[in-house]
Symmetry: C2
DNA sequence: TCTTAAATTGGAAGCGCTTCCATATTGACT
DNA sequence: AGTCAATATGGAAGCGCTTCCAATTTAAGA
């Protein structure tokens, strides 16, 4: 807190600039000088002041990230991957949570800009016009973690939610499921959920299933999933598959079926989206869409690091792909429904 | 990014100091001047540079927080509460994750100190000597979120894990459970888990239950909880209650019992610790210890804000208390075990 | 009306660093 | 030896802000 570059410089009998060069690993320092300076740094227990560095160098070594909520597994995992990559490069994360509100996101962007981050990480590709304006005006590198939108601010990392939902419906249709409904979120709309719904509806149309009126909207929570089951069981014409837009709702649905003595997948099959850790533990294990979210975070980090290093590949788009995980909560191929085993299915590969 | 205080000052025809005083709400500015300056700020779209302010004022408006992992619900909830309180006061959080390693924690503290935070939030009260030395030398306010240790660095916010475990055992003993075992974590030891075990063993001794050899160690995960059930069912002398040190393990245990057709709570009762959202949804609903973690975060934030405001009540200790939640995974009073209903139980009140 | 204290204000001096420029030194070729 | 480029180095000039001090203005008493 007290010893500064000037003190080190004085002790080492060199100029402040030289100490700075040693600290920043500049090539233009003789080995002897470097060693001498490093010894003095150790002797004095010098600790750089990154605030001062940030001001002088116009580079803070901080990256702003905005996610819906800190406690949501999906986003937390991405943050962990992102943070790991950045940490290795001496960069810290500044995390804000906007609770799925793009107005709140705008506020956070405004606040964060005052702290002069070197880059931005945003969740989703839906923002207020002002958010987009602010960020574009700042000229900072940005990565949006989302669908692979065609109109990104800068770069996007993500996977195709639409296609994942679409493929899931096709797969389960091949497995014998015929009449299905989807549960999507009633509040906090966002682009990823919207795309999942679109993909589902597209598949439904392709298969001629006529399920347009079977879109349930409940809160994205265990409770919401449970309520959807209640609704589903009261339908005049029963369904045999409930497609949940998130694993959280799917888990809630499974619990509700257990409570009501509904057998899965025979009486009602259930699938989810996200492949949370619980999806493999629950009974029956949950058929769902799996994405490597740590990897998403790491990729996002890599993109930002490249951007910061000046490699300006405009509009980079990174597809981390997804995998359909077929488990016991839906019929699997060739088992007639009893204790189905996992069957390998097609995957959208990395581009 | 470009307009600075000097520009505002020039336009408003005042000194830079005056603009600064307006920005920081100093009392010594005439209303007319203030208004004029504010108009110019708006006109130019001036946005303060908090990096420069941090350097000049020796106050960054950032607080460092270190938690085991971003994605663990317990800690994420605390962060959310903390972040909310700080945000209202224009303070940002700098979050690092140490993965339960105090060596890694030390590294993060070292890194964070270079960014000159105004305060620290630490998880737990177990740190390396060097961590403690560094933080004490920095003279910054600290709050540890943990047990209510008697030897805090500065302030502590938390609840009594020992007492919670102890009371849980006493309660379940009154409900008729006699032979029990505890599952605790095999890796990543930490003070809170240790205290829970201690409390459990203390109660066991008080009740003369002789359960010292029934301490299982498994990974703190769904899988670990499941394995513990496997172990428990193979005991020569069967147990009737499995006390899990975390809800995650308890949920894993419940799933495993479902898979094995073990009826709960009749054949095996299960209780947990943390009261995660899933505890109320799962079948049977999980008896557990509940703590308001958002509130813990908010309290931690309040303490830090007070400290920053200069109110130096040394060694503040804040007990947020806990509540035993009795649910269907254990016998409840007066029901003989069948579909027990929730019974109000004693709570350790806020101090 | 004259003092004196309080309220305002301008402006300079940093905060601790990076970076540019000028200078000094070295070494490789002629 | 002499030349020129490459390599090292010191040091000053900021980066954009806060804050202190001195100066000025205003208000309040006497």
């Amino acid at each position: 807190m007290r010893v500064k570059i000037a003190d080190v410089a004085r002790l080492a009998n060199v100029g402040a600039g030289t100490v700075s060069r040693v600290l920043n690993g500049s090539r233009n320092v003789s080995p002897e000088t470097r060693e001498k300076v490093e010894a003095c740094i150790r002797e004095l227990g010098y600790m750089p002041n990154l605030v001062a560095r940030g001001l002088a160098a116009n580079r803070t070594g901080m990256i702003s990230a905005i996610i819906p909520a800190i406690g949501y597994t999906q986003h937390a995992e991405v943050m962990q991957g992102l943070s790991d990559v950045l940490h290795e490069n001496g960069i810290q994360l500044m995390i804000g949570h906007c609770g799925y509100s793009i107005e709140r996101e705008e506020q956070i962007v405004t606040d964060f800009l005052e702290r002069r981050p070197d880059a931005f990480y945003l969740t989703g590709a839906w923002h207020t016009p002002q958010t987009r304006r602010l960020i574009e005006a700042s000229g900072l590198p940005v990565v949006e973690c989302s669908n692979l939108t065609d109109n990104p601010i800068d770069s996007v990392v993500g996977y195709d939610n639409y296609e994942a939902a679409r493929q899931m419906v096709h797969l389960l249709h091949r497995r014998g499921h015929r009449r299905m409904a989807i549960v999507t979120n009633a509040v906090e709309p966002n682009d990823r959920m919207a795309d999942r719904l679109e993909g589902y509806l597209a598949a439904s149309r392709e298969l001629g299933l006529d399920m347009d009126d079977l879109v349930f909207r409940y809160q994205n929570s265990f409770l919401g999933g449970g309520e959807a089951v209640g609704h589903a069981l009261n339908l005049p014409k029963p369904i045999d598959l409930l497609v949940c837009s998130t694993d959280v709702m799917a888990v809630g649905a499974i619990f509700e079926c257990q409570r009501r003595g509904v057998s899965m997948p025979d009486q009602l099959a259930i699938c989810g989206f996200d492949d949370l850790p619980i999806a493999t533990s629950i009974n029956p294990a949950l058929t769902t869409v799996s994405v490597d979210r740590f990897e998403m975070g790491r990729q996002a980090g890599q993109v930002l690091l490249q951007r910061l290093a000046g490699e300006a590949a405009p509009h980079k788009k990174i597809d981390v792909g997804f995998t359909l995980r077929e488990r016991q909560s839906t019929y699997a191929a060739s088992t007639g429904g009893a204790r189905p085993t996992i069957v390998p299915v097609e995957t959208v590969p990395l581009i």
